[in-house]
Symmetry: C2
Subunit: 214 residues, 2 copies
């Protein structure tokens, strides 16, 4: 049995969608940040940095979003969430996921948790002020990749990368981190992913249906 440790609206939403898309047999555990559960021993034992997502398996815990996503795809091959039999195509999926993880996720974290990177209010302001420029640069690369009219990030099939992109495109809509209006391909992609039944179910579970509405 798999258990996803998540917080509503956090980036654990991506594996939450992936598990649902995979038709996985899983439980969910909501980590209660309000009472500091993320910084207490039971959770810190499986998440050394006190962060979601964690996927607990019968063999132990997995952390780091792209690794969790690849595991969900590999352990549910029938769901077709990644091109598992083609090392190059699989690497392209991973490369895209890491582009978000190592660049876009870090940029957005600068807004929510600037003290991950530097101390002090002036540094926090400088970290936040930089985000729109970074978001513009990073999302422009993705927008260009969608410009050939493809329906999904890697072509004509839904993969892990589509779940990943849709969640970060939705963060971008919050307004404090860049201008989403110049990214029509990404907006159309987001609407396409949001319409999927599995995504709808998870948005309901996490209480995000309003936030995801246009």
């Amino acid at each position: 049995m798999l258990t996803l440790y998540y917080a509503p609206g956090a980036c654990s939403l991506v594996p939450h969608i992936a598990l649902e898309e995979a038709g996985a047999d899983y439980r969910r555990h909501r980590v209660n940040y309000a009472v500091g559960e993320n910084n207490q021993p039971p959770f810190r034992t499986i998440s050394p940095l006190g962060r979601v997502p964690v996927l607990l398996t019968d063999r132990g815990a997995l952390t780091e979003n792209p690794a969790i996503l690849s595991y969900i795809a590999q352990s549910h091959p029938e769901a077709g969430l990644a091109p598992l039999d083609d090392p190059f195509a699989f690497a392209r999926v991973q490369s895209f996921n890491l582009f978000i993880s190592a660049n876009i996720h870090v940029a957005f974290r600068q807004i929510v948790f600037p003290d991950t990177y530097a101390d002090g209010e002036e540094a926090a302001k400088a970290l936040r002020d930089k985000v729109p420029e970074l978001a513009d640069r990073y999302f422009a690369v993705i927008e260009q990749g969608l410009a050939d009219g493809r329906l999904y990030v890697h072509g004509d099939r839904f993969t892990l990368s589509d779940a990943y992109l849709s969640v970060y495109a939705n963060y971008l809509r919050k307004g404090d981190r860049g201008d989403v209006s110049r990214l029509p391909n990404i907006l159309a992609h987001r609407a396409r992913i949001r319409a999927r039944p599995a995504v709808q179910r998870i948005l309901e579970v996490e209480g995000l249906a309003d936030e995801w509405r246009d």
Copy 2:
């Protein structure tokens, strides 16, 4: 044929070692940062952010270090650089690699390229000043993982994660980013990896043999 785009001493050293350990048939292209090659069209076409490493294959380019590493392992299964037939064990390798990529690599980048995260000299100083604290926290997690006397990150076999860790442990020795002396397991691991013939060859190619000496 594979071509690795690298810069001496950059984190492209990790896939450079992995290609050599895999016995891969590959070429190398040194990206000349001194003349701005990293920011000019031919290279920017394969690396949208102008960064190394890039692994160019007959089917296109791959970016993002952990994705490149997994591709090298999957396309050279006989080399045994990752437990390819065991999704959970493979995910643990990826999770470790991402722990470095998303945390330690970002922290060290704060020293070398602080303007990736914020503008201005004061912000740059705040970003640099935070790094020893971050390095302590992140490397402590890894040090504890090695405390059971294992020879390699994931047990008794060399994997991609060992190449990754050794390169970042060597960065840590530069002295401006944390205290390596409290990490005896990581230091012993680094010496073990450095002694490997494939690693020795690549350190010679990149001109790093002196920098890696004790």
